[in-house]
């Protein structure tokens, strides 16, 4: 017997919820970035699962996963750049305390 598609989707949804809860609960900007990565990965699992179980032979769902990888890498680079430059201005990473964006 093989693993049904629904099991993969349940794991994907669970990981997405966990990442969403992390974004809402944590206050450290770096941890929020990590939780966003978890959510992106959960979406990737859904895309690959549907692509492998339902999709046509040319793997279009997996192509979208490659683009998600590109976006995630760019997002982490720019996000950490913003966090580091904000930290250099004022040494806090708590997002509740970074409430002014004036230069």
């Amino acid at each position: 017997m093989t693993v049904p598609l629904g099991a993969y989707i349940v794991v994907s949804a669970a990981l997405f919820f966990i990442g969403c809860a992390g974004v809402l609960v944590r206050r450290n900007a770096v941890v929020i970035l990590m939780c966003v990565e978890l959510m992106l990965n959960a979406a990737n699992l859904g895309l690959v699962a549907f692509s492998r179980k339902y999709g046509s032979i040319d793997e279009r769902g997996s192509v979208f996963v490659i683009f998600v990888f590109v976006i995630a890498a760019a997002e982490v680079a720019v996000g950490l750049g913003i966090i580091l430059s904000a930290y250099r201005n004022r040494p806090v990473v708590n997002v509740d305390e970074i409430h002014q964006m004036k230069g």
């Binding site: 093989t2 349940v10 966990i18 770096v30 939780c35 990888f69 590109v70 890498a73 760019a74």
Partner: protein
Amino acid sequence: MTFDFVEPAVFALISIGVIAGGVAVVMLNRITAAALLMAFTFLCMAGMFVLLGAETIALFQVLIYVGAITVLILYGVMFTKFSDQPRALFFQRQTPLAAVFVAAVGIPVAIIALSFTSATPRPGGGDLVALATSVFTDFAFPFEVASVLLLAAMVGAIVLTKRDDPAEATLRRNR
């Protein structure tokens, strides 16, 4: 004797790893440990891609997520002062309301997710040829746009984190 039980067993192990790693990332106080457990979650996710038969995606997952993104985030953790109290926000007055909300969202999601049944199983074999054919024919233009986006992100990250020249900084401050 058949080995039909192997795939569900491996799936169960990997999914436990994914969920436990995700919960640990959200709950742990020590951020370095959380970053390493995030790498563990990504590794388990690569195993899940292998289980689905998408070996190329699993390879990219290990290269990009476990390799590059985890290292970047570890650098970010080490450059900033790490202290965080995640559990301060748990167990507050809205807990029953939040439980009702989670049940109202989660139960329909689980029912819908479990209602998907697989189409006919794919023949085995890798996904590399199909993936490469799609990327370099139908998705050639978005592929090039993605490379431009990566270049823009790289330049943007350098500009954001560049340390100002002191003379230039004083000049800007006096302006």
